[in-house]
Amino acid sequence: MSDKNVAGSDFEPRIVAFFCNWCTYTAADLAGTARMVYAPNARVVRIMCSGRLDPQFVLAALRKGADGVLIGGCHPGDCHYQEGNYKALRRFTLLKTLLAAMGIEEERVRLEWIAASEGDKVQRVINEMTEQVRKLGPLRLEQIHQIEGSHHSAAQVGKHAVMEGAV
């Protein structure tokens, strides 16, 4: 892993974005086709449905050095698979509580419903998120959890806590 920038004006947030194939990923493609320039800080991982989003993915991204995580799914009622986005919402709500308990600011994770036609929303949300995380500064997990290996166990605890509530 490359060294993180220190906090300050040159801090560039690193954001992992999980986009569902049918709505948000397509919207990001549309933003591209329409040449809507936005912050290059987000990296998109495509999943078929926001329902596929295992909270562990978010924790893994943060553990591997992401300063923020963005999740994009279809609008309520629009899920290509009927209701995967509702499952994502429930998991997300619990995940945020968990992250707060771990000392991670809740503004570092964001869930957005972005329809296939909303290329401009992809642009806006990524720009907003980048600026928001920039204000928060780098996520310093090593300071939050001093004990070596604690992220690992935290992630597993997180998974179970979230699952119990979400299914």
């Binding site: 992992v16 493609d29 991982v45 495509r46 499952k87």
Partner: protein
């Protein structure tokens, strides 16, 4: 996180191919830097760049490397996988590679087209390539499953687009179910008198097609009906259609119209929907003389029998005993393999632009109302008359009402300039009135369209370039008394003009149907911002949708005139026929599967699967996924507390490594 520390695929040999896409990518990304990084990534044996990877020579580079045994899996960094993933998978298959040992890095739509700084774009490309490589290491060979395609087709909407699609499919020998919610097919076209620019009679060209639909042995026509349920997927949809009671037995009615004559209401009393409120109809009616089917319909809201038990003279007079007040709503279920949506549009509600006085001044009409007035079969027998029955001496046509307007719709409705020209011609022909067209820009692209515009200029129609500010009955001078006064800036002269007229025609634009959102949800497709159904690709897949097997025809996809709607209907029919003729669809093998050794039989997954694709093997007490029912969303995988469930092409380890890869080179 055990999966992260899982087996390393030591023998994997990854080929990485970076596409320039001309200057689309190469203009923003230092390609060579990305190639250099790719070469250093673990598992990569080949890293190359090429101008157009999707071209034949580009694909051949990959194929040769596979044949030479240099690589067993491929990463292409180019455009979106939604664009060219099938292309590259196909290329791999042709070289006897497994097409699923493949991953795309989207460095065009997600990088070069949206990033300003070249250095940052290059960094982002590196990260996406690294992620794809890290992930493809864990890909497994997979095979697609094939399911047969039901050759029947459902067409929703019986306007000209639906009619044309239905006849095309039926003539090709396919079974068509055509569903229309009005009592007759024909749609908007049936309301028009003439069509632009040829001025041929709308009814003369439409009626034969309507009759052909009715008579065609391959078409089942359900009017006064709605689709209420859609299940299944491409090749095998299950459709529920609600047939509303028309209280007249369709098979018995011969269309003699005696029942309408016999109705206790001696004259029309209720709003005639077909004549957009300009005439009155009885509770029992046919919408217009060429209605198809020519079967009477009884409106229970207004029929006296349903309110006060009338003596039913309509039923008594019917020799065929076709009238049945006990008719009930009926639900029919059919299986089809493909669906064509041709649900059309609605016209803009002119009262939303208060300053034009629609609904306030009786002599302000919408264009659709004037279509009925000029129609020989319309409420005035083709006479263009004012509310007081007199012929207008001057008529203003205001363009772009509800179009090209930040307050309502920003888009151009595309048809209004041409139909305004047509109406100007017809009004002048019928009344010899002075006709003024107030336009922003004249938009007349199309075969014979510009010529028609020129013809009207020569006919002495007045054209004033300027958006109309207001229509009032405010007279400033004696010759404005009792008139509607148009105030508009004549932008070619640079002056504000006041023009008194007798009649104002508002050229209303086209809007998506008010229930378009419900319809698209039912068929699992998307809408654009404006509410039009979203095509898969604006240029290269204009009649397909993001849902396989669902196609679009006509104005439900965006404003269109008749020739465009018919062309698109033909295209949609051709796409559906192609699907049927192959006979099967290949399903993406991204289904879920269970690793028995980790499954505790907790049934968490069973409860959340929306497709009931998961059952329990009672002997082993473990979950089993039915691959034919699984749609590959992965929701169960995310919910599985022990990691026993996995999703092909989206396993935990693939995604974890993608995350790790993406973070390595941010």
């Amino acid at each position: 996180m055990s999966s992260l520390d899982n087996k390393h695929n030591g023998s994997a040999r990854v080929g990485v191919y970076i596409c320039h896409c001309g200057i689309n990518i190469a203009g923003k990304v230092h390609i060579q830097d990305v190639v250099d990084i790719a070469k250093k990534l673990p598992g990569v044996t080949v890293a190359k760049e090429y101008k157009f990877m999707c071209s034949d020579p580009g694909q051949e580079i990959i194929q040769e490397d596979i044949k030479k045994g240099l690589i067993d899996r491929v990463v292409v960094a180019s455009c979106s996988p939604l664009m060219h993933e099938p292309t590259f998978r196909g290329a791999m298959a042709k070289a006897d590679g497994n097409p699923f040992m493949f991953q795309m890095a989207n460095i065009r739509e997600h990088v070069s087209w949206v990033t300003k700084d070249k250095g940052l774009a290059t960094d982002k490309s590196k990260a996406l390539v690294a992620a794809a490589v890290a992930r493809v290491m864990f890909h497994q060979p997979l095979t697609k499953t094939q399911v047969p395609v039901n050759p029947n087709v459902l067409i929703v909407g019986g306007g000209i687009a639906g009619i044309h699609a239905a006849l095309t499919m039926a003539n090709a020998g396919k079974k068509v179910y055509l569903v229309e919610r009005e009592p007759t097919i024909g749609g908007h076209m049936a309301k028009f008198d003439k069509t632009f620019p040829t001025l041929d009679c709308s009814a003369c060209i439409l009626t034969p097609k309507m009759s052909a639909v009715r008579a065609h042995p391959n078409i089942t026509l359900w009017t006064y009906s709605d689709v209420v349920g859609v299940d299944g997927f491409v090749g095998n949809f299950k459709i529920k259609v609600k047939l509303r009671p028309r209280y007249v037995i369709e098979e018995e009615c011969v269309g003699c119209l005696e029942c309408i004559e016999a109705c206790i209401f001696k004259h029309g009393k209720f709003k005639d929907e077909f004549n957009v409120g300009l005439a009155k109809r009885k509770p029992i009616y046919v919408p217009f003389p060429q209605a198809t089917p020519l079967v009477a319909v009884i409106d229970p809201e207004t029929c006296a029998y349903f309110r006060a038990k009338c003596k039913k003279p309509c039923a008594d007079v019917c020799e065929k005993k076709a009238i049945d007040f006990n008719q009930k709503e009926e639900i029919v279920e059919v299986d089809v393999g493909s669906i064509i949506l041709a649900t059309g549009f609605k016209t803009f509600d002119a009262s939303r632009v208060a300053r034009y006085g629609y609904g306030k001044y009786p002599n302000v009409y919408t264009s659709l109302e004037v279509e009925r007035l000029v129609n020989a079969a319309g409420p005035t027998g083709g006479e263009v008359v004012l509310a007081n029955g007199k012929k207008p001496k001057s008529v203003a046509i205001i363009h772009c009402v509800g179009s090209r307007d930040a307050n309502s719709n920003k888009y151009c409705s595309k048809v209004c300039c041409m139909y305004s020209l047509k109406l100007a011609h017809l009004v002048k022909e019928r009344t010899e009135a002075d006709v003024y067209n107030f336009y922003i820009d004249m938009r007349t692209p199309g075969k014979g369209y510009e010529e028609f515009y020129e013809r009207l200029l020569l006919e002495g129609i007045n054209f004033i370039r300027g958006r109309v500010a207001e229509v009032t009955d405010w007279a400033m001078t004696p010759d404005e008394e009792e008139k509607l006064v148009i105030r508009a800036e004549d932008t070619l002269v640079g002056k504000v003009r006041r023009i008194p007229v007798d009649m104002v025609v508002l050229a209303v634009g086209m809007e998506a149907q008010p229930d378009a959102d419900d319809v698209r949800r039912m068929f699992n497709i998307s809408c654009s911002h404006e509410g039009w159904f979203l095509e898969r690709h604006p240029k290269l897949a204009p009649v397909s949708t993001l849902t396989d097997g669902v196609f679009l025809a006509g104005a439900c996809q965006g404003p269109k005139d008749i020739p465009d709607s018919v062309a698109q209907a033909g295209a949609a029919a051709a796409e559906a026929l192609a699907l049927i003729d192959i006979g099967h669809v290949e399903l993406e093998p991204n289904t879920a599967f269970v690793r028995d050794e980790f499954c505790s039989g907790c049934r968490t997954c069973m409860n959340i699967c929306p497709f009931s694709a998961i059952a329990i093997d009672t002997e082993k007490d473990t979950a089993v996924v039915n691959g034919a029912l699984c749609k590959g969303c992965g929701t169960c995988v995310a919910a599985c507390p022990s990691g026993a469930l996995q999703q092909n092409l989206f396993t935990d380890e693939q995604i974890f490594h993608e995350i790790e890869g993406v973070m390595n080179y941010v």
